[in-house]
């Protein structure tokens, strides 16, 4: 069979790669002693030195070239179209928003601070009207001032999904849930600013009128999809090839999949920007198709950091942990890795059968399959990522996942099975992406522990590039009998809404591109989300978030594996490095600097 | 080149110890051995003969009797192009026009090849390079030995093609071998061999690959050309019919040795070796009546690795049980003179052989 041969080859390839990695280690690091946790001779700040705190801020010097590398180019550099987390992070170099995340480590990074605007929103009308005043001295890369109309036009572009597909559509959903506006390209008004829910009474003022209050609206305005775009510079679908800069850097050259170079935008004024420090003179990104090569270049010091911020690959990680621990951070990614039980597939319509799987699974072995405590993350006990307000981490563990039942509780599981009416267990299918070896490993681990409680699970490895079409279609899931789906999810913005709305709200069940895999139709949860968006005070929001999480866990729709962590590399030469919850625990790019600009 | 020790007794025609022979070509005690995994293959094991200019020697024998190996030995083609660890071992003496070839530097022998001595091969299709035109190949042969420009050499090639009877030679000169018929190819091959007016021409089975009518034409051509050029010619064949037309002398080889040698009419009409009788019997003769009595030589040629002691032909000899006096059977029969310039190597007495020939063999032929 073809598949078996392929996997045989892959095994060979992996074995060879491992052998090479071993050689690389010796070749590249011959004689290098291991670093301790408190920094190294080479100047690296130390293990976890930039995790939720700022490392070596004082050593930063202006100038030099900051060198990114990546195994994956952005989906688009168009602020309207990009959806990859690292793109949002990087886009702050060449785009500004009304408000943005604070350039501070950890939780503080997820708090908002004014950027183009003089202050945070003046919210009136019961949370339905947001008013901003623009700063003085804010300019485009050609020196012209950024106006409120530019901001409105940039936001309007989100409506042109037919041309500018790919990006988040929260703005559209919040400002025009009925979809009355057809986007600027089909706009019949002369100035193409026909969106009624945004007013620009003058160049400096912009007013948003929400049809329905949403307490996360300002968080959504902090997304790069709310960046200003100037109409005469809008090249529509090709805008991503050369976005017109409003930030401290502008595109010098971009070759998709190959390289990207940003240089200083000389029209940008430090005085107009309280957020960005703009230390380096130049920023380069080089793309690789082989993650090992990227890691090798990082280890070798040819590059400063990975733009993708998805963690090092296994071989590079092993070498780095052994030889260059002081260059590493081990942050929480904001992702939760989990299995989800579609209620359309029997017997997962019964909560007791779902509980049986959660109770019977060997959570330690699942964690090990994910890569262990460091590379994989802590055992996940509930469905709210630790970076989201209202999260309780492992303290909330209704099924004893990291406690009593961490190695699987056969007795409890069998009790649940009996309650479900399946005392002798049942058969089901685990769906897993075939292009994620780690997920396949977790599926196998789960399969093994389910066997002990009489659940006979088959593993179906489906084409991972077709994820949306295969598991995003509830009818297909039911047809294939996928009782257990292995997936992962991270927040678009760090709130319960930015994480859980598409997963848990019944309104988000779709016939294609569905993300509510469990098909949760719980009026309480829907109601909590409705309540959340109208609650404006932080404490109230936090409380509701916690409550939603509890409801989801009580429904036993999910078996969380890990609160994901990853190993992230920073070069010796990087200064002012810190992780931020704003971008799921990755380094905040915009204020990175170099210690030695000449290097 | 590996020289074998000359300790072995000289076999065949007694050779003079004086180094400078008077004949144009004289081969003395030639041995060509090939080491193989199974043992030493003694393809030629002590062969001696002489040949004068203007004369033709026919070497006759079955395949594997060593006749082609002999001709390649004379041409020095066992040592040229020997690669790898295993090399042919050659010993003896080959005197060509006063020069001993085996002890000459290989490059000197190379210079003689194609000029003083040349060769016509059995299968002209495989012996001609398929990627070069006939003309290119003849021109090359000419220019190795003559410092002339290509035009002159080409004129010479056309002239030679004309001489060997190829029609429209100025056009055919640009043809490739595969565009020629079998007979034409052999004519072209002959033209190439004669382009440098060689004094010694070796024709190795020149007609085997051709059909009967063409065979006769080619043999006529060789004979005519010999007269014209006055070369010494060695014709190697398994077919006595071929040498009957051409040869002055005949040398019959068996198992790497000479078993009978003499003037053509003697060998044909008074053969004194049972193997020769066998060959004569297996020869289709147009001038005789008894076509139905064709007698092939029974059995297969001997292994050249483990040559049996005694007479090599013994296992196949129909007269092996003829009582023989005063002869040790395990000793090889020496060539002995059986007539004027006529030698044969057989354990039977001359009288026995004369009687068998005249009473038993000749009438059946």
């Amino acid at each position: 069979m073809t598949t078996q041969r392929t996997s045989g080859r892959r095994k060979q390839a992996l074995a060879a790669a491992a052998a090479v990695a071993a050689l690389l280690t010796t070749a590249a690091c011959g004689g290098g002693g291991s670093d301790d946790n408190n920094g190294s001779k080479s100047g690296a700040a130390g293990f976890d030195a930039a995790n939720n705190k700022v490392a070596q801020a004082s050593l930063v010097k202006k100038g030099g070239t900051l060198r990114f590398g990546g195994a994956q180019d952005a989906d688009s550099w168009d602020t309207t179209r990009g959806y990859y987390g690292f793109m949002w992070n990087f886009a702050r170099y060449y785009s500004r928003q009304l408000v943005t995340g604070k350039t501070e480590p950890g939780k503080a990074g997820a708090e908002l601070t004014p950027d183009l605007a003089t202050g945070l929103a003046k919210v009136t009308d019961g949370g339905k009207t947001y008013t901003y005043t623009l700063r003085d001295g804010i300019t485009w890369e050609d020196g012209k001032p950024i106006t409120s109309q530019d901001v409105k036009y940039g936001i309007e572009r989100v409506w042109a999904q037919d041309v500018l597909s790919g990006g988040p559509t929260y703005l559209k959903d919040f400002l025009d849930p009925k979809g009355e506006y057809k986007g600027p390209y089909k706009d019949t008004s002369k100035d193409k600013l026909g969106l009624k829910s945004i007013d620009t009474p003058n160049d400096k003022t912009i007013v948003f009128h929400l049809p329905k209050a949403n307490s996360d609206f300002e968080d959504v305005l902090a997304l790069v999809s709310a960046s200003p775009v100037r109409q005469d510079k809008d090249t529509k679908s090709k805008y991503g090839l050369h976005p017109f800069s409003s930030g401290p850097y502008k595109f010098e050259s971009y070759s998709p999949g190959k390289s990207l170079t940003l240089v200083r935008n000389t029209e940008w004024k430090q005085s107009s920007d309280p957020v960005r420090k703009a230390y380096p003179d130049k920023i380069t990104v080089q793309f690789f198709s082989d993650a090992n090569q990227l890691d090798q270049r990082l280890l070798n010091g040819d590059l400063d950091l990975d733009i993708n911020q998805t963690g090092m690959s296994p071989q590079g990680r092993t070498t780095a942990l052994k030889e260059h621990k002081a260059n590493l951070d081990n942050p929480v990614s904001g992702y939760i890795r989990y299995a989800v039980f579609p209620q359309s597939v029997k017997p997962f319509d019964n909560v007791e059968c779902r509980k049986a799987v959660i109770l019977g699974a060997d959570h330690v072995s699942l964690q090990t399959a994910r890569g262990g405590p460091i590379a994989g993350g802590d055992i996940g006990t509930n469905m709210l990522p630790p970076s989201v307000p209202g999260a309780e981490g492992q303290k909330y563990d209704p099924y004893g996942i990291s406690g009593a039942n961490k190695n699987g509780n056969v007795d409890e599981a069998k009790k649940a099975l009996k309650a479900c009416g399946k005392p002798n267990g049942f058969s089901t299918t685990i769906a897993v992406r075939n292009n994620k070896p780690v997920e396949v490993a977790t599926a196998q681990s789960l399969q093994a522990s389910l066997k002990k409680i009489g659940i006979n699970a088959q593993i179906d490895q489906y084409d991972g590039s077709q994820t949306t079409g295969i598991i995003g279609s509830p009818s297909n899931v039911q047809k294939k009998g996928y009782g257990i789906i292995i997936m992962g999810w991270g927040p678009d913005f760090p709130t319960v809404q930015g994480f859980g709305l598409p997963l848990w709200d019944s309104k988000y069940i779709a016939q294609s591109g569905n993300n509510n895999y469990a098909l949760i139709k719980d009026k309480t949860i829907d109601g909590l989300f409705d309540q959340y968006v109208t609650t404006l005070d932080a404490a109230g929001k936090t409380k509701i978030s916690t409550e939603i999480n509890h409801k989801v866990m009580e429904g036993a729709y999910y078996l969380p594996f890990t609160f994901e962590k990853f190993i992230n590399w920073r070069s010796d030469n990087l200064a002012n490095v810190y992780t931020t919850d704003n971008y799921s625990g990755t380094y905040d790019f915009v204020n990175l600097g170099l210690k030695n600009p000449k290097k | 080149m590996t020289e074998l020790s000359k300790s072995g007794a000289a076999v065949g025609e007694p050779t003079s110890s004086s180094p400078a022979p008077t004949s144009f070509l004289e081969v003395r005690d030639l041995k060509v051995h090939f080491p193989t995994d199974d043992g030493l293959v003694k393809s030629v094991d002590g062969l001696s003969f002489k040949l004068e200019k203007g004369k033709t020697l026919g070497i006759v024998g079955e395949s594997g009797s060593g006749k082609s190996v002999t001709s390649l030995g004379i041409m020095g083609l066992h040592t040229a192009g020997q690669y790898g660890k295993r090399k042919a071992q050659i010993s003896g003496e080959i005197w060509l026009d006063g020069t001993e070839l085996l002890s000459s530097p290989p490059d000197e022998v190379r210079k003689l090849r194609g000029r003083q001595m040349s060769m016509i091969f059995q299968d002209p299709l495989s012996a001609l390079h398929p990627y070069y035109t006939i003309g290119q190949q003849i021109v090359e042969a000419y220019r190795i030995h003559h410092d002339v420009d290509k035009k002159t050499a080409r004129r010479r090639a056309v002239e030679m093609l004309d001489r060997v009877g190829i029609p429209q030679p100025d056009k055919r000169v640009d043809n490739y071998p595969h565009e020629f018929s079998g007979g034409m190819r052999q004519r072209a091959m002959i033209a190439m061999s004669l382009v440098n007016n060689p004094e010694l021409l070796i024709a190795d089975e020149p007609t085997t690959a051709l059909d009967v009518t063409v065979q006769a034409q080619i043999l006529d051509l060789i004979r005519d050309l010999q007269k014209e050029f006055g070369s010494a010619v060695i014709v190697i064949t398994h077919d006595l019919g071929v040498v009957a037309e051409l040869a002055d002398d005949i040398l019959v080889m068996y198992g790497g040795r000479c078993v009978e040698r003499g003037p053509a009419e003697k060998v044909f009409y008074e053969p004194r070796h049972p193997y020769t009788w066998g060959l004569l019997g297996s020869m289709p003769r147009l001038d005789r009546e008894q076509q139905e009595r064709l007698i092939p030589v029974k059995g297969s040629p001997p292994s050249l690795i483990n040559i049996p002691s005694g007479c090599a032909f013994n296992p196949r000899c129909p007269y092996a049980d003829v009582p023989k006096d005063n002869v040790t059977r395990t000793v090889r029969p020496e060539l002995t003179e059986v007539g004027s310039r006529h030698w044969a190597a057989c354990h039977m007495t001359q009288e026995q052989r004369e009687r068998i020939w005249t009473e038993e063999i000749a009438p059946k032929l």
Binding site: G30, Y83, D162, Q293, G513 | F121, P130
Partner: protein, 332 residues
């Protein structure tokens, strides 16, 4: 010879049309029959129906099959304009499709990537021809000796070791370990030295694999040719051994070598994925690898077509060369 050439060219042209249709069929029609909506694979995470519909409209995915094929063919010769959702995208001739993922016409991507791959393949080919053939000839002439055995063991290693192994190893040693070379791709137009420095390791790595194969083929062929009657004839003419080997034997030996070379070069144009990915060379192989990862169908389609074209042209060139070398071929 002319008739032969015309026949070959005609066959190649027919083949090309067939290839385009088959490839097109695989990429656009088979998913359709299989019930997979191609349009939705062109848009992102939050699949907005408007976006899907616009792509469908732009690509004419709802049109009948023959019309889609016709549009594609027409695009190659006269260019194509995609319009949908108020945006008009023009793709100039020769239009081999347009990637809505990276917002680029496919043809410029191909012409941008092609020289890299071509440079990689040709440079490596020069190396492997020189070293592979030399080693093979030497091995044949010294058959059975330690040279022969040694060369063939190295050749076996070359054939057996995968590119990603030898590639990463050479990188580890020469680029990261000894730091002799900066293994970064630099376009030829930018710096000849830099280009050479960036290409030398990929060349050597790729050439090592192929040189090994060529050495083995050369050795076997040479041994066979040396046993040919016409080689004996050449010696009988009194030719020097160098001429016998260098001219008569080499010409015959080169025939299968050239055939292989043509095929290999053709295949390498599209098949240097491993090498390009290992050494991060921005060639066609990497383009297609990235395209597969991003599900960028038009790019995959374009590269596949160009690759088929390259193989086809290579075949044609081989056929012609064959006729030049071997007069017997011209007849048939």
């Amino acid at each position: 010879m002319l008739a032969y050439l015309i026949r070959r060219l005609f066959a190649a042209a027919v083949m090309l049309v067939v290839i385009v249709m088959v490839v097109f069929g695989i990429f656009f029609l088979v998913p359709k029959w299989a019930g997979v909506d191609i349009a939705s694979s062109f848009v992102g995470k939050q699949a907005d129906p408007a976006a899907v519909e616009a792509v469908r409209q732009k690509l004419g995915l709802s049109d009948p099959i023959y019309s889609q094929v016709w549009q594609f063919f027409k695009g190659i010769f006269v260019g194509r304009t995609y319009s949908g959702g108020g945006d008009v995208t023009h793709c100039a001739a020769p239009c081999f499709g347009y990637s809505f993922r990276s917002e680029q016409a496919v043809w410029p991507v191909l012409t941008d990537r092609f020289p890299v791959t071509l440079g990689l393949a040709l440079g490596a080919a020069v190396l492997w021809l020189v070293f592979g053939v030399a080693a093979g000839v030497l091995s044949a002439l010294k058959r059975g000796t330690i040279w022969d055995r040694g060369a063939m063991v190295v050749a076996l290693a070359g054939v057996s070791l995968p590119i990603y192994f030898t590639g990463l190893l050479s990188l580890a040693i020469f680029a990261f370990g000894l730091k002799w070379i900066d293994a970064q791709y630099v376009p030829l137009s930018q710096s000849v030295g830099g280009w050479f420095g960036g290409m030398i390791l990929p060349w050597i790595t790729l050439a090592f694999l192929y040189a090994a194969m060529y050495a083995r083929i050369t050795r076997a062929t040479m041994l066979e040719i040396l046993g040919e009657d016409y080689i004996r004839t050449a010696r009988a003419k009194g030719l020097k051994e160098q001429v016998v080997i260098g001219k008569h034997a080499m010409r015959s030996t080169m025939t299968p070598i050239l055939t292989m070379l043509g095929m290999d070069l053709g295949a390498l144009i599209g098949g240097a994925i491993l090498t390009e990915s290992t050494f991060n060379l921005p060639g066609l192989g990497r383009a297609v690898l990235d395209a597969i990862r991003n599900q960028d169908l038009p790019i995959i389609l374009g590269v596949t077509l160009i690759t088929s074209l390259a193989v086809l042209i290579a075949n044609l060139v081989v056929d012609i060369l064959y006729a030049v070398i071997d007069p017997r071929v011209r007849l048939s």
